[in-house]
Amino acid sequence: MSATALQTLIGTALIDREFCEELLNGRRPALLTEFDLTEEEREVVLAIKADSIQEFAVGLYEWLMA
């Protein structure tokens, strides 16, 4: 379930500060391998520029709602 994988990704970042920092910085591609994302979702996640996990979540939310 695509939205589930994306929500799980964000949820993990909400809980885990270290994971969150790595998601927002350079380790994002490596972290994504732990989640069952489609290629399109992976591209979207990699393209998001955000300074906080909330901004990151808003970006994903808007993409999902589009």
Partner: protein
């Protein structure tokens, strides 16, 4: 996404974040199917829930409630006199309250302090009845009661969850008909009909 919050839920963007939090907890605890062991989740709480413990009492005052203590520890107090499923729903709600009081929530400037009860109840539904699992279950079981049994939650929570997910709530007649088709005609007879 095929999901929308009912009037009893938080605004959609906040609901998205709250649902993410529930999925994050499920992943972190390694929970992959219902029923979600919320009591064990509280008893074996994550480091973000700093010094959180579960206190089980026979108070008759609350279903469950969150309390922070002067020594820095936190409690979720649950009333053992309430029905099992009510305890589970209320413990899940209070787990959200505990998160909102956590240092991690402060770091995140977690946005839902003004709507703790509304968001807490929504979080409880997301945690105990994750959307993907509900959709899968709806394809297999037909009645609200069956869903309530599978997820170990009150039937009222099932109807609310189905409603906010935009799923059809099966009527008792449809459930009976489907069960009859599945189990054979003899199963529909009322008690005492023999």
């Amino acid at each position: 996404m095929g999901r929308g919050c009912s009037g009893k839920g938080p605004p959609e963007a906040e609901a998205f974040l709250v649902e993410c939090l529930a999925w994050g907890l499920l992943r972190t605890y390694g929970i992959e199917e219902p029923p979600v062991p919320v009591r064990a989740m509280i008893k074996h709480s994550l480091p973000i829930f700093k010094r959180l413990a579960l206190l089980e009492l026979n108070l008759g005052l609350y279903d469950a409630t969150y309390r922070s203590l002067l020594n820095g520890s936190q409690l979720i107090v649950v009333d053992l006199t309430r029905p099992h499923v009510v305890q589970r729903a209320s413990m899940a709600r209070e787990l959200y309250v505990a998160f909102c009081h956590s240092p991690r929530a402060a770091e995140l400037r977690w946005p839902n302090h003004e709507q703790l009860r509304v968001c807490g109840n929504f979080f409880a539904r997301c945690l105990l009845m994750p959307a993907a699992w509900v959709r899968q279950a709806c394809a297999e079981v037909i009645s609200v009661e069956d869903l309530a049994a599978r997820f170990d939650v009150p039937t009222q929570m099932v109807t609310q969850r189905l409603s906010e997910m935009g799923c059809r709530i099966p009527s008792p007649a449809a459930a009976l008909s489907a069960r009859s088709a599945r189990d054979g005609p003899g199963c529909d007879r009322a008690v005492g009909e023999d």
